[in-house]
C-alpha cells in the first residue's frame, strides 16, 4: 500500500506517553493535517488512555471529542497507536484492532502502530515501532521500507532534550484530563516546545 511518514512531533509525543506510564498499556490517536491521498502523513498524535483501555465509555468519549477537535482544526484521524504494559509483547490486542477498524471505516489508508517496548532504550538505532495496515480484510504488517521517519537522529536528540529539560512531564493524556479538566489534552504547550526544538534542525526560521 502507500507510504507512511511519521513526523517528529507525533513520534516524540507517543514516546513520551509510553515512557510516562511504563507499567500500563497506553494508547492514542494518530492525526494528519495533510489532505487525503495515497501517502499518509502523520503530523501529530493525541495521547488517550493509560488505564482500562478495553472499557468503552471513555474511549467513545475521547474518539468523539478528538473528532470534533479535528474538524475545528482541519485535521483527520488517520491511525491508532498502543504500547502494551508487557514489554515483550508488541502484538495488537482485541481492543486495538477494534478501534483501528472504526478508524478504517472513515479513513481507508488508516494505520495501526504498536510501540515495541523492548527497543525503547537510549542509543537504540531502530525506531521502536511496528506498523500494520489493512490488507485483504485483516491487519497485516507493513513493509518497513514504506515507513519514513525523516531526520531520525534529530528526532532522537529532541526526545532526549525533552527528558533532560524535564519537559516530558508537560504531556497530558485524555485520562489525566478527566482527572483534572484544567489540563489540556491537545497539549498546546508541549507542541510549541517541540516545534521550537525542531525548527533549528530544519533550518526554518
Amino acid at each position: 500500500m502507500g507510504e507512511v511518514e511519521l513526523s517528529c512531533l507525533a513520534y516524540a509525543k507517543m514516546y513520551l506517553h509510553a515512557s510516562q506510564f511504563p507499567r500500563s498499556s497506553v494508547n492514542g490517536l494518530l492525526l494528519s493535517s495533510s489532505p487525503a491521498g495515497a501517502a499518509v502523513c502523520i503530523t501529530d498524535c493525541v495521547p488517550l488512555l493509560h488505564s482500562h483501555l478495553s472499557l468503552a465509555p471513555i474511549t467513545q468519549l475521547a474518539l468523539t471529542q478528538v473528532d470534533v477537535w479535528c474538524s475545528q482544526t482541519q485535521q483527520r484521524i488517520v491511525g491508532y497507536y498502543q504500547a502494551n504494559a508487557c514489554v515483550s509483547d508488541s502484538s495488537p490486542t482485541p481492543c486495538a484492532l477494534k478501534i483501528a477498524e472504526k478508524i478504517f471505516e472513515q479513513c481507508n489508508n488508516a494505520v495501526l502502530l504498536m510501540i515495541d517496548g523492548e527497543k525503547m532504550f537510549p542509543g537504540c538505532r531502530v525506531p521502536p515501532i511496528v506498523m500494520y495496515e489493512r490488507k485483504d480484510a485483516r491487519w497485516a504488517l507493513k513493509d518497513k521500507h514504506t515507513i519514513m521517519l525523516r531526520q531520525w537522529e534529530e528526532t532522537c536528540s529532541i526526545v532526549n532534550q525533552l527528558f533532560s529539560s524535564g519537559d516530558q512531564t508537560l504531556l497530558v493524556d485524555f485520562d489525566s484530563h478527566l482527572d483534572d479538566i484544567t489540563k489540556d489534552w491537545t497539549n498546546q504547550k508541549l507542541n510549541a516546545k517541540i516545534m521550537e526544538l525542531i525548527s533549528p534542525a530544519n533550518g526554518n526560521v
Binding site: 465509555p57 478528538v66 508487557c86 489534552w185
Partner: protein, 283 residues
C-alpha cells in the same frame, strides 16, 4: 525522610524513583539511627530498586534482610521478586512453590505466581489460577483489585463485574468502584446494562460530584437509553431529563475550568460541540 517513606508505604504509592533516592540516602548515611524501622525500609527500598532496575541496591538490601531473618517466608518472597525482575521465572516459581509447600495459605506467594503468568502473557491461565484460589479462600477480598486488573486485561467483563460487586460491598463509599462498575456495564452493552450503568454512574456522583468520568458516563448512558426504540415514552422522557442535567453539569464544569486559560479553549469548544451533536442524534 523516614516520615516520607512511611507515608508512601502506608498509601501504597509506587513512586519508585523517589523511594530509591530517599531510601538509599537514609540507609547509607543514617542506618544506625533507624532502629527496628530499618528492616521495613530495606524491604520498601528493595522493591522500589527492582522497579528501577537497580539490582545492585536490591541485592544489598536483600542480603541485609536474609542475614537478619534467615528463615522468613517474607524475605524468600522478596528473593523471588528479584528473580522475577531478572526474568528468571522458573527459579522464582521454584522459590514460591517451596513457600507454598510450607504454608499453602500464603497469599503473597500465590499472587506472585499469578503475576508471573501475567508477565509471560498467559492471562487466561492467570485468571484460572486466581479463580481456583478464590474458590478455596473466598474471604480474600484483598485479591480483588488484582483480579480486577487481570479481568480487564483479558476482556472478561463478567468477571470484572463480579469483582467490582465484591469491592463495592466492602468499600461502599468508594466512588471509583461505582464508576468503574458503570463503565463495565456500559461496555457489556444492551438496554438493561445501560440502565444499570446509568444508575451506578449516578451513585458515583452522589459519592463524589466531581467525578468527571461518572458525569460523562451518566450523560452517555442516559442518552443511549433515551434513543433506544425499545423503551416506553416515560422512560425516554426520564432519561432525556437525566442526560440534559448531566450535559449542563459538564458544560458548567468546563466553563469554570476554561476561565482565563487560553489553551483550554480547545477542549471547552470540543465538549460543547460534542454535547450539541449528541443532542441531535437523541431527538
Amino acid at each position: 525522610m523516614r516520615d516520607k517513606l512511611r507515608k508512601w508505604r502506608e498509601e501504597n504509592f509506587r513512586n519508585s524513583e523517589q523511594i530509591v533516592d530517599v531510601g538509599e540516602e537514609l540507609i547509607n548515611e543514617h542506618a544506625s539511627k533507624l532502629g527496628d524501622d530499618i528492616w521495613i525500609i530495606y524491604e520498601q527500598v528493595m522493591i522500589a530498586a527492582l522497579d528501577c532496575s537497580r539490582d545492585d541496591l536490591a541485592w544489598s538490601c536483600l542480603q541485609e534482610l536474609k542475614r537478619q531473618f534467615p528463615d522468613s517466608h517474607r524475605v524468600k518472597r522478596l528473593a523471588g521478586m528479584r528473580l522475577e525482575a531478572l526474568e528468571r521465572y522458573e527459579d522464582a516459581n521454584k522459590l514460591y512453590d517451596s513457600i507454598l509447600q510450607d504454608d499453602p495459605t500464603n497469599t503473597a506467594a500465590r499472587k506472585r505466581k499469578i503475576s508471573i503468568l501475567r508477565a509471560q502473557g498467559k492471562s487466561s491461565e492467570a485468571i484460572r489460577e486466581l479463580n481456583e484460589y478464590l474458590e478455596h479462600y473466598w474471604e480474600c477480598f484483598l485479591c480483588s483489585p488484582f483480579f480486577l486488573s487481570l479481568s480487564f486485561h483479558s476482556h472478561s467483563y463478567a468477571k470484572a463485574a463480579f469483582c467490582l460487586e465484591e469491592l463495592m460491598m466492602t468499600n461502599p463509599h468508594n466512588h471509583l468502584y461505582c464508576e468503574q462498575y458503570g463503565e463495565v456495564k456500559y461496555t457489556q452493552g444492551g438496554l438493561e446494562n445501560l440502565e444499570l450503568a446509568r444508575k451506578y454512574f449516578a451513585q458515583a456522583l452522589k459519592l463524589n460530584n466531581r467525578n468527571m468520568r461518572a458525569l460523562f458516563g451518566l450523560y452517555m448512558s442516559a442518552s443511549h437509553v433515551a434513543a433506544s426504540p425499545k423503551v416506553s415514552a416515560k422512560v425516554k422522557k426520564d432519561n432525556v431529563k437525566y442526560a440534559a442535567w448531566a450535559a449542563s453539569q459538564i458544560s458548567r464544569a468546563y466553563q469554570m475550568a476554561g476561565r482565563g486559560k487560553k489553551e483550554n479553549k480547545c477542549s471547552v469548544k470540543a465538549v460543547e460541540e460534542m454535547l450539541e451533536s449528541m443532542q441531535i442524534t437523541m431527538s
